[in-house]
Structures are given as C-alpha cells and as structure tokens.
C-alpha cells in the first residue's frame, strides 16, 4: 500500500481560475519526495488537499488516499492526525500561548491527557532538539525554532506523512542545516514543497515538478534537476550543487 | 477614556459590571450562533489588530496626538456582536496586562467602550447608511457620523459614572467630558472613515461578508443591545439630565406648551449635594451647544464622505463597496 496516492486531482479557485489540473502521483512509505515548481504553480494548494482542508466542499470522488484511506469524511479526523501539514508561515501554525501548549494541542484534540500527554510532548520536543523549551513564548523564538516547534506539534500527533510547505525559507544557514539534519533523521514519509533546490538534492530521492497546476515531470532527483532545459522551461534553474558535481 | 481604579465607587462598579457582563454574554451567544466557524480565529486576531491600531499616533496640534478607539471600525468590519466581544477582549487585556483601566472600573470601561460605543455607533451607522441609500458615499458618511456619535456617547456615559460615584460633579463632568470628546471624536471619525475607505478600496468583499442571520434577527439583536445601553444610560445619566427640564421648562413656559421630563424622583434629592457653580444658567446653552455640535459633526461627516468618494455620474452603478481603481492615497 502506498503512503500517498493522488489520482486526477483538480481544483479551481473561488473565482474560477484552475489551480490544479488532473494531478496524479504516488509515494511509497518512507520516501522523501520534493515538490518543486515556480511561484503560483499550486504547490501549497496541493498540500492543502492532503489533509482535507481543501476542497472546501467535499468532492463527489475523493482523489487523495493516505495509506489506503480516502481523504474525506468521515475519516478526516484520523487523516489529520496521520498527515502532518507544516505551514509556510510558522506564525500561522503556532497559535497557542506557549510552546508546550502548542505541541500538546494536536494530541489533546486526539484525546490524550495527563502523563501520556506530557510524555508525548516531551518526546516530540526532544526529537526536534528543543527539550526544555516548554515554557517559552512563541514570539520570543527565532524563525527556525518556531519551525521546529511546529514540526514537534506534528510529530506529537504521530503523523506518518509529513507535508512540508517551504520548510527552509527564510532560515539562516544554521537553521537550514539543522532542519536538513532533522528531516534526514525522521523516519517518516515526507513530501516537501520548496524553492530550495539544494535541499531537494541533499535529501530527496525523487522530485515532482508542478507548473500551472499540472505535473510536468517526475523522476529521480539528479536526472530531473540536471535537465537544464526542463528546469528553465518551468521557471526553475539547475542547482549549483549539481553544477559543481557535474561540470559541463 | 480608560477610567482607573478609585474613580468609580463600589455601587457604580457593581452596576456597570453587571450590565457589561450581560451585554458581553449576549454578544457571545449571538456570535456563537451566527458566526461561521472559520471566522472564529478572526475574533482574536481582530482584537490584536485593534490593540495594534490603537498604538498609532495621529498628530493633532503641537505635540499632542490622537489615537483610534476602534469601536465603530470593528462594528463596521465585523458586525456589532463581534465588535462588543473584540472591544471587551482588548479592555480586559489592557486592564490585566498593562494596568490600563482599573479592575473595578473594568465594568464601566466595558460599558462605555465595548457596549455604548459599538452599539450606538452601529445603530447610527445603519440608520444613516439606510437613509443615504447604501452606496459608498453614504457608507462613509455613516461611518464618520457614527464614530463621532459613539465617542461622544461613551464620554457622556463616562461622565455619568463619575458623577454617580461622587468623584466629579455632573455639572463639571458632563460639559468637560462631552465637550472635549466632541472634538476628540472628530479625530476618531476621520481615522475610522479613512480606514474603512481604504479597506473598501483594497478588499470590498471583506465588508460585504455578513453573518448568517436574517434581517429580523439582526434588528432584534440591535434592539436588545439598544435596550441594555439605554438601561445603563438611564441609571448613570438620566438622574443628572433630569435637571435639564428646569432650563427647558422656562423655555417651554415662555413658548406656552407643556413639557414632560423624565424625573428620577428619589435621586433628585442627591442632586442637592452637587453645587453647580455658575453653570446652572448655562445648562440650556450646553444643550444648545450639544445639538449644534451634533449637526456640525454630521455636516463634516458628509463633507468627508464626499471628499473620499470619487466623482461619479448620478446614474452610474453604485454597488456597495465599489470604488474607483485609482486610490487617492497611498502609503
């Protein structure tokens, strides 16, 4: 069974503009896939379909299945625990008064309490390297720390598929390095929407290229990203890290 | 207009607290009933927005600056019940986190700024907007006048509370508060209208979204709030205003028709404690000044609305919230 299966997913914005056109792909368990494409390609919109936030009105035929379950009612509560969506702006996701409460939010909604809850929170914070941050206030954290708290919140729900929207954007080099190491360590299936092509080369075995809502290419990272004409045609560029490895 | 502790006595604190609690409770249940779930976070974020907006300086004259209160702005953008909730939240935060406004005065401050201001403001707004035909200009004129009225009304309520507590004599509190706030309110009107005009330009759909309740339900709501506000005003203002008829009666007698004044009988004896040095004879002039000020405020509101609305052909399409693509101001 595939971790994620998307079949013929289409979506239009409220004003009628098509956002996603017949998107189809799948992911095996434990894979790390990069989702790349120019601005406005629909990457964020696609990720929002993975846990049922979109479409606003349920489609007649669900196009997304996570570990065999359709992303639609009545499975949505379970799906949202399984699919951890990391939002682009950590400030949108870190809405609780303290770090501990925010990480605990998900498991609490799932019914955890007491010692079990505290354990779960402590473990998740440890996983992202933020033990001891329990009482910290969100607005005192750096962007990288906020991102990691958000990740901890997703891990606390025992997510088995992580959907990450631009996780390394506006991180300083150290923050980026720490994030990269963290994502490499996590044994969870990951789909990473990003402009950071170096990150994709470093940790993703496969990439999907999205442009104007449609999948235009899919395949192993090195072959796709080395295809300079393909990259340029879709508003991307061949990452420097590959230029250095394969000088032409 | 945040009243600190020590200016409101216990009976006023309890009375205002009770009315404010009822008003807030009603607003909460109304919001829960009518606001779609996806707008719930907007309440908290709007409260943060109001707080942040209140911190902006609007230079007035020689170093002084004005600040937005935001009651009518919130009411126009979110509706009256949400506005009551949002303003209450801001006041609660200011009281407990910044000691801005006393804890015993919280009831009074909530009554003035989270109940009277949004309710009076919204009521005036809907009335004027309806009379004006619900186009952009009428909405802006309504916003301006409503903001002015709401601030003045809140200041009068505040004066009443100070007087009822024995801190400041009514004869001093009323002209001082109402007088100064009639001027301050012009600033509030100007800022609120400019903001509403800008939001209409940027995102007209934000102003068109209304809660899911029917027209009837909304009027019922407004009437309920109106009653609550009136109750408060009857308690805090009417006893003092009851000596207006002395001046008015003279005029009535001269003009030869009967005058019926609402006299709160038991409380009028309290009034003998309050000497109104030299002002008694000027009561009538205060009333006249107040009426003139109100008329002037309306005229200014109309002028402002005209200035902010681009010129249009009389027969052109004026969908509410529609505006010219060229902004007249930019940051």
């Amino acid at each position: 069974m595939n971790a994620l299966e998307v079949q013929g997913l289409s979506y239009d914005y409220a004003d009628g503009t098509p956002a996603l056109k017949d998107v189809s792909f799948s992911m095996a368990e434990g894979e790390r896939v990069g989702l790349i494409g120019p601005n406005g390609a629909g990457k964020s919109t696609l990720l929002l379909h993975l846990n049922g936030i979109l479409p606003e009105h349920p489609a007649s035929l669900p196009s997304v299945r996570v570990f065999g379950t359709s992303v639609a009612e009545p499975h949505l509560t379970a799906i949202r625990a399984q699919v951890g969506l990391l939002f682009q702006d950590p400030d949108d996701q870190l809405f609780c008064p303290s770090v501990w409460e925010d990480v605990a939010f998900g498991p609490q909604q799932l019914g955890l309490s007491g010692a079990k809850l505290s354990d779960r929170v402590a473990r998740s914070l440890a996983q992202v390297g933020l033990s001891g941050y329990d009482e910290r206030l969100p607005h005192h954290l750096s962007r990288g720390e906020k991102r990691r708290v958000c990740l901890a919140g997703l891990l606390a729900c025992e997510a088995c598929l992580l959907a990450l929207d631009e996780p390394s954007s506006d991180l300083d080099p150290r923050g980026r390095r720490e994030l990269k190491e963290l994502l490499k360590k996590l044994p969870v299936t990951q789909i990473i929407a990003t402009h950071d092509l170096e990150l994709v080369v470093e940790i993703c075995a496969r990439v999907i290229v999205l442009d104007q809502g449609a999948v235009v290419a899919e395949g192993p990272t090195s072959s796709i990203l080395n295809d300079e004409s393909l990259m340029l045609a879709h508003g991307l560029d061949r990452p420097h890290i590959l230029r250095h490895l394969h000088p032409h | 207009m945040h009243i600190p502790d020590g200016f409101i006595d216990v009976k006023t604190a309890v009375a205002t607290g009770a009315i404010a609690a009822v008003g807030l409770g009603f607003a909460l249940s109304s919001v829960r009933r009518t606001l779609p779930p996806r707008r719930v976070p907007l309440l908290g974020l709007s409260a943060a927005f109001v707080f942040a907006a209140q911190m902006l300086n609007f230079p007035v004259a020689g170093g002084t600056s004005g600040h937005l209160i935001g009651a009518v702005l919130t009411a126009v953008l979110l509706g009256p019940s949400a506005a009551i909730l949002v303003m209450s939240a801001v006041l609660i935060l200011q009281c407990f986190m910044f000691a801005d406004g006393g804890v015993t005065a919280l009831g009074a401050n909530m009554f003035n700024m989270a109940l009277v201001a949004p309710v009076v403001g919204y009521g005036v707004y809907r009335l004027v907007d309806r009379i004006g035909g619900a186009g952009l200009r009428s909405r802006l004129c309504a916003t301006a006048f409503a903001s002015w009225c709401s601030t003045v009304a809140a200041s009068i309520a505040c004066a009443g509370q100070l007087a009822w507590s024995g801190t400041v004599a009514w004869g001093v509190a009323f002209p001082a508060m109402a007088g100064t706030h009639m001027l301050i309110a012009v600033g509030e009107a100007l800022i609120t209208t400019l903001v509403v005009a800008a939001v209409t330009r940027m995102r007209p759909e934000l102003l068109l979204e209304r809660s899911q309740s029917s027209l009837q339900a909304r009027y019922r709501e407004l009437i309920a709030y109106g009653l609550l506000v009136s109750l408060g005003l009857v308690v805090f203002v009417a006893p003092f205003a009851s000596h207006w008829p002395d001046g008015l009666r003279k005029v009535a007698a001269n003009l030869g028709f009967e005058q019926r004044a609402a006299r709160a009988s038991g409380l009028s004896s309290l009034l003998s404690d309050y000497t109104v040095p030299g002002i008694r004879s000027a009561e009538l002039s205060i009333v006249i000044a107040g009426c003139l000020g109100t008329v002037m405020a309306f005229v200014l509101a109309y002028v402002l609305a005209r200035l902010l609305t681009p010129q249009r052909d009389p027969g052109a399409n004026t969908k509410p919230g529609g505006s010219s693509p060229l902004a007249s101001s930019s940051s």
Binding site: G106 | P4, S46, S329
Partner: protein, 204 residues
C-alpha cells in the same frame, strides 16, 4: 515596535512570581475593592495598604525604576480627571482622597501585571469556566499581539522611508492606509490560522 509596556514579563524568580496566578489575581482584586471601601479619613488604613504594597514590590524584586515608570505612564489621565473633582463642595478632600486611592489601586494592578503572565490569568479564567469563545479570543489576541504590533512597526518604518512631505494630512492618510493594510493581512492570517487549527484536529 517597542512599546514601553510590551516587555512586562520579568523572567525572574521571586516569591511573588512563584505564587499561583489565581492567588495573585484574586488578591489584587480584593485589595482594590477594599481600597474603594476605605472611609475618607482613613489615613491609617491607607498607610497600611501602602506599606503592604511596598513590601510586595520589594519581595517581587522588580526594579523600582521600572515600577515607577509604569506608574507614571498611566497617571496623567487619572490626574486630569481628578483635577475635575476639585470643582465641587469638599473638592480638595475628594481630590486628594481619589488620587491616593487611585495610586494604591494602580500600584496593586501594576504589581499584578508585572508578576503574572497573561496566559496564566487565562488559565485561571478557563478553570473558572469562563465562556470558551471568550477565552479563545483572549488567547489568540495575546498570541498575535506582538506579531501585529511588529507588523505595524515594520509598515510604519517602510512608510517613513518613502514619505517626503511631512504634512499632517499625509500622515493621517498614510496611517489610515497602514491600519487598513494591517486589517486585510490580519483577515488573511485568520483564515490560515483556522486552517492550521483544523489541520490539527480542532473541533469548534
């Protein structure tokens, strides 16, 4: 944007900081009500109250300068209204009495706000079964307070870099536009926060 009062939380350890929030909240409120009930000539009572506050302030280890600054920041309005109280019979007495009472109460509330996190106060409200919609609103407001004031600060700085005429009218117009922008961004953020809350299973 650095508002002088926004850094109210002292991450200090003191006997007062360690007290449960409920105790401090109730204590401060009771103290304030008690001050209101003091008779006009109860100068001994005032003195006792004052000493009690000074002791608490000392125990809380908040720098005296900070406390004084906070007291002074909010005083002007109180002074203004108090001056109005002079214009009545026994005016001077009322004036002094009001000012003393008010200062004592204010001191108490400043101590409360400096030693108690607002989120702890929210917890107290939550446990006391305050309406959940109110608590959620207060919590979200508190969480996004600093973010929005920062945003507004950034927008003001951006505006300053692009404004060449200092006319008052211009300032008013651009300030209003800044506020309008902030509202639009706030609305958009609210939608995203809603999505984030749903994404983690929030049930309304």
């Amino acid at each position: 944007m650095h508002h002088p009062l926004l850094n109210t939380y002292q991450h200090q350890r003191s006997p007062i900081h360690r007290l449960p929030a409920a105790v401090k909240l109730v204590g401060a409120t009771v103290f304030v009500f008690a001050c209101l009930l003091l008779p006009r000539h109860g100068w001994t009572a005032f003195a006792v109250a004052g000493v009690a506050l000074l002791l608490t302030a000392a125990l809380s280890r908040i720098p005296a300068l900070q406390l004084t600054r906070k007291l002074l920041w909010v005083e002007p309005f109180a002074l203004g209204v108090a001056l109005l109280s002079l214009l009545q019979t026994n005016g001077f007495q009322v004036f002094v009495f009001t000012l003393v009472k008010s200062t004592l109460c204010l001191f108490s509330m400043v101590l409360l706000s400096s030693t108690t996190r607002f989120s702890d106060i929210l917890h107290v409200l939550w446990r006391a079964r305050a309406p959940s919609l109110l608590v959620t609103t207060l919590a979200l407001m508190h969480r996004y307070l600093f973010l929005l004031t920062d945003e507004i600060g950034r927008m003001l700085r951006a505006r300053k870099s692009r404004t060449f005429s200092r006319g008052r009218l211009n300032v008013w117009r651009s300030s209003a536009t800044v506020i309008a922008h902030l509202f639009v961004r706030t609305s958009e953020r609210a939608e995203r926060v809603y999505a984030a809350m749903c994404a983690r299973g929030w049930k309304t």
